[in-house]
Each structure stands twice: as structure tokens, then as C-alpha cells.
Subunit: 348 residues, 2 copies
DNA sequence: TATGAAACTTATCGCGCGTAAAGTTTTTTA
DNA sequence: TAAAAAACTTTACGCGCGATAAGTTTCATA
């Protein structure tokens, strides 16, 4: 007759297996440094051997604060948001948090539902890229009163904590470059999916006026719509049918629009680039992963999503009272605007 | 003195607010159809008014089966996987489940960690796009013994439930087309990130042999690596330096490779397309959202991710004992191979 | 209107863990 | 080596809800 080792399901089982009391083991899981070094090593060895992990529901049921962070992105198939998400998830996990990602998919109902889901999870804090719909402003603001909320990509309002790109700086950069290296750019705006649409438009206007140039806006009919490529492709096809762009240079509010412009120009037989025989220059904004593989490679401005993610979660931890290892000095206020970097490639 | 309405935090509070007993309210949340119609309407009105949602941790702590589904994708910035994810999330939510998405990001450690996270959540079932690393086969198989697991995109082994594209059919389709409409295609293989790499390669070989043609494989050095565009770009640049492709037609194992090939060909001054003056034809596989906006638009084979997602979760619900409204007949076995649809565009 | 079934109520337990209090052992410090 | 401090153990409670049993009301059907 051989001993049948019973499976370790609960922390009770596990503590018996380790040879320590459950409260001690519990303390370890909440903060490994709260137990003696020798104890810690014993537990860690046992964890490795048994594969035990505390039940996440039980852990979070009776906690002052859960170890769940909420993340809301406006579009789950956009590589920019997903890269940002990945970055944040990684840092959160290292700090012992679990990041729960939900997408509003451009729909206010889904954004609201995500908020409710987070409420039912009693999340410790949230990082949100908001749609910027007026109807949800109140609910988001209310959430921000009960738990720390950091906004990314586009701000909720003028006072809430925010980390994002300095559109004024980035558009000045690209407008200056385009003007210096050729003719002045006209502006292909985003569909009004969030506050960036307006902000970037104004940033372009300001950059042009600084150069004493008249801003030129292309004005395709636009409703909120995340299919940027299709929108830009269709609008460009129409523009080209109706006599073409007002200048030889098109500055797009984001790269995905530029993809659509490039495709439509190609199919119209136009050569895009800054060389001699070229008909059109096209520039974007964001530096999507695929931008460098466009034909021609897209000249754009790179948003630093690694830094946006890092600073957003650092700001969140700061408000949660976590002290990160790195003693990075956070800016005094809670509105961080990062500078963008120009990526000179072949399209403009 | 006016009445201060106390906040509704627990189901106890809520049931008092509604004027019903807690067990009845609990029954409602577990299955709205288990209570009388009038009762249901009363509760629904109260939910709407108060915004109450049961605490997700308490709900899942003491349940036979949680209402959490686990999803593992191998890459969180690939639009194909994210579109699949979105589809599955949507259906899961409608059925009252919460889909928790984790990405293995191409790393076996992360896949294993995701498995452990799911274990600690006691998930009801899982849908997994596996990396196909041998070392994890056992752990995945073991998970499959305790809860229903459906594999998508690439199968775990020959017996586990799987929903994906029929590579033999899809490659026959594209190889036949390419051969018929021009010269025979050589094959640009995927980096060996999962079993699709080998399977697609064999599907190409078989399709070529059916036509009595000699398969031609390009053999760039390849380690597992999800940066398909960069890999293909670099490899193509080298191939072009060394004399070019063996045939005028390149069939890529997936679209993202084709993006890299297109970019490298463009930068080498080659004209891609099926017209008279063209130097090269390029075709892909998958039909990524951006494929139609390439220059030229990419000829490819469309994976039906909507159907893959729908069938995967239907299969999962079936094993969970859920009876979906649609009385769709599921195939007798648990290995579903979907046919792909050819997308004729300008690149080949 | 009677009669059983269906739907409700009340009462109670326990899921697995965090947390606190009080007592005991081990380690540090003087 | 003694005293103080730190780390542990034991005991107990409760988080919010699912689940069940036993009793009560409401409903459907004849």
C-alpha cells in the first residue's frame, strides 16, 4: 500500500504541505518580503513543487483593495492600442497586479458596460483610453472619485490625470519638415472618434499659422468610425476624381488614414514619394508597426507607446500608494505630454 | 430632514430594494428565465434603476462552475487574432460568460503562466491558439482533461477539439489559381511559430504535386519569430541581391510575410502585379484587414475568422452543456476545418 | 371553488481566503 | 545571558454570494 498524495487545492492544504500556518502563507502571498528569508525560501520551493496559486476569487473577495487593474481601449484590432496594452499588462503583472483588458470597440454602450464590469470586480484602479462621448463623461468622472483612473491617448477633460502625446509638438515637427522639404501640407483629418480628432486638427492649424501659411483642410463627410483605412481610401478616391488634392503634400491625422490614402493614390496611378517623378507626398502620425513596410515606407511621427504605457501605470501606482523600485521623478502635475519623434521615410 | 438612500452594494441590499428575497434574486441572476415573468420585470427595472451587478468574485467563489472563459492568443498585436478574439468575446458575453484574454506573445513561459492564471480562476472552459511547443503539450492536455478546451488556428494534436482553416483546401485554391493565371509559385514559408508553419508548407507541396509541378521552397534561416514583416523584408532583400526568386510568382505562408516581400520588392524597384510590365507576383494567406490596402492590393485567401470564432465557442458551449438558441448541427467529430475563400486582387 | 404545482420566503451553511487578536517561539540586540 | 523585538501559531470572524431544505404563498388547471 503506497501513500496517495492528496491534491493541494486550497491554501489550507498548501500550508500543511509546507509545514507553516495558513496566515503566514497568506502573508507571503500578499507580500513576500513580509516573512523571514528562510521562510520565504521554503514557501517558494513548495510553490515551485506543487504549482499552487491562491484562488483569485477568494483572494479578491475580502480584500480592502483588489489586485485587479482595469484597462479600456477603444479598438482591439488597432496595433497601436494593443502594443500599449501589452506594455501595461507586463508592468502590472510584475507588480503583482492582474490587468483586465476590455475594448469599447468604438461604442459608448460597450464602454459603459466595461465600466460596470469593472465595478463588479471592484478594481483597484484603471487606465482608460476614452471615446470622449459626452454622455459618459459623468460616469467616468464618478469612477475617478472612487478609484484612481489614468487616461491615455486622449484626455477625458482638462483636469483628470492623463498621459499622451503632445500633439502640438508632434504636428509642428511634421508640418515644419514637410514645408521645409517641399510644399505646404494640406490636412486629412480623423473621423471624430475621440478628442484627438479635434486636437490634432488644431495642432495642424497652429503649426501652419506659425509659418504664416494658410491651413488647408480636406473636408470629407465624417461620422465617428474606426475603419480609418476604408474611410480614407474612399474619400481620397473621390478627391482624386474631383480634381485632386489642393497641394502636393497630404498630412494625415494618423497612419491608418495614410494607408488608405496610399492605396487610393496607387490605384489611381499616382506615384507617391519625395523623388523627382513623384505626384504626391503623404505623411502620417503615430508610426504604426506596419508603417515602415508600406509602399513607399510612410514618413510619420512616432508616438512613444512604451513611455506612455510606463508612465501611465507609474502614475497609477503612485496614486495607489505603491512605491516602484525606480525612484523616477514623476512630474508634479498629472498631465504628461510626451514629445514625438519624426520618422523620415520615403513617402514624404 | 430628508431620507438618505443608502447605497446598494450587495445582493442583500438589492433584494431589499426590489422587495424580494435574496435567493429569488440570486436565481434571477443565474438564469433570468427561472423566475416568473412579473418577477423578472420587477428585477430588471430595479437593475436598470440601481445599476446593481453581483460581485464577480463572490459569484464565482462558490460555484460548481465559474462563468469565466479563458482565451489564449499567441500574439496580441496581430489583427487576425484580435478579430477572432473580439468575435469570441462578443458571443461569450451574450451567453453570460466573461472572456478573459491572455496573450502568450510567442513565449512558452507566458503561455504556461496564462495556464496557471486560468487555473487560479477555475475557468469553465478555454479556447486556445497554441504555440505548439512540445514542452507544454502535456500541461495543455492535462487542462483538457479537467475542463473543455477548444483549440483554434493551429491544432494541439490529432485528437483534441479544433476549429481552423483547411490548409490543404486553401493552398490548393491559391496554387491552382496562381499556376493557371501565370507561372508556378515558389513558397515563402513562415517562421516556425506553430504547427501551421509545417502544415501549410506540406499543403503547398501537395498542391504542387497534384499539378505535376516541382515544389520550390525558399529557405531563409528561420527561428520562431512573430515579426513576420521584418523577417520577410530582410529575407527578400537578400534573395533579390542574390539573383532573385526562382519563379516570377511568390506564395507567402501568410499575409504578414507578403507585406514584407512587397516592401522589399518595392524598395528594390520591382513592380509587383499581374499586368504586362510587372516583375513579380506576390500572394498571401489569411486576408488581414490591411491586405486590401496594400500597394498593390494583396491577392490572398481569406480565413473565415467569424466562423472560426463562432464554431469554436459553440463547440465549447456544447461541451459545457449549454444549449445555444440556434439549433445548428455541429459536425459529429470535434475537428472542424473550414474552407477558405480566394480574394483576387492586384498583386497576383 | 378546490387542489396540486409552481414560485416564492426564511433560515442556514460554506466556498477560500484576508484579517485581526492573543499567545508562543525564535531571533536580534544590548 | 537576559530582555526586547520579530516572526510565528492558534483561533475566529466575515467578505458576498450559491446552494439547499423546509415552510408559505401564489398561480394554473379542472
Amino acid at each position: 500500500m503506497h501513500a496517495v498524495k492528496k491534491p493541494i487545492k486550497t491554501m489550507e492544504d498548501f500550508s500543511a504541505f509546507v509545514g507553516l500556518s495558513r496566515p503566514t502563507v497568506s502573508k507571503y502571498f500578499n507580500d513576500p518580503n513580509s516573512v523571514r528569508k528562510t521562510t520565504r525560501e521554503i514557501i517558494e520551493a513548495a510553490v515551485k513543487q506543487s504549482g499552487f496559486r491562491p484562488n483569485i476569487f477568494a483572494v479578491n473577495l475580502n480584500r480592502r483593495r483588489t489586485n485587479i487593474l482595469g484597462l479600456i481601449v477603444p479598438n482591439s484590432t488597432d496595433p497601436f492600442y494593443m502594443a500599449l496594452t501589452r506594455r501595461i499588462e507586463g508592468i502590472a503583472e510584475q507588480a503583482g497586479y492582474l490587468a483586465f483588458v476590455l475594448s469599447s470597440d468604438g461604442k459608448p454602450e460597450l464602454e459603459e458596460r466595461a465600466l460596470e464590469t469593472f465595478k463588479s470586480m471592484n478594481i483597484a484602479g484603471a487606465i482608460i483610453a476614452p471615446l470622449g462621448v459626452q454622455s459618459l463623461h459623468d460616469k467616468l468622472a464618478k469612477l475617478g472619485e472612487s478609484i484612481p483612473v489614468i487616461y491615455v491617448d486622449s484626455p477625458l477633460d482638462a483636469t483628470s490625470p492623463f498621459v499622451g502625446t503632445n500633439n502640438k509638438q508632434s504636428f509642428k515637427l511634421i508640418v515644419d519638415y514637410l514645408t521645409r522639404s517641399g510644399d505646404e501640407p494640406c490636412y486629412f483629418g480623423m473621423t471624430p472618434v475621440n478628442s484627438n480628432a479635434l486636437e490634432r486638427r488644431e495642432a495642424y492649424r497652429e503649426a501652419m499659422q506659425n509659418l504664416d501659411l494658410e491651413p488647408r483642410f480636406l473636408v470629407p463627410e465624417a461620422h465617428a468610425n474606426w475603419e480609418f483605412e476604408k474611410f480614407a481610401f474612399d474619400a481620397t478616391a473621390q478627391i482624386l476624381r474631383e480634381g485632386g488634392f489642393p497641394t502636393k503634400t497630404v498630412l494625415c491625422a494618423n497612419d491608418r488614414l495614410a494607408f488608405g490614402v496610399l492605396a487610393a493614390a496607387y490605384q489611381a496611378g499616382l506615384k507617391v514619394g519625395r523623388g523627382e517623378g513623384c505626384d504626391l507626398r503623404v505623411a502620417g502620425h503615430d508610426d504604426q508597426p506596419l508603417s515602415r513596410y508600406m509602399c513607399p515606407p510612410l514618413t510619420t511621427v512616432a508616438q512613444n507607446y512604451n513611455e506612455i504605457g510606463r508612465l501611465a501605470i507609474e502614475l497609477l501606482f503612485d496614486k495607489l500608494g505603491e512605491t516602484p523600485d525606480s525612484k523616477t521623478e514623476l512630474p508634479g502635475n498629472s498631465r504628461i505630454l510626451l514629445n514625438a519623434e519624426i520618422k523620415l521615410r520615403m513617402s514624404a
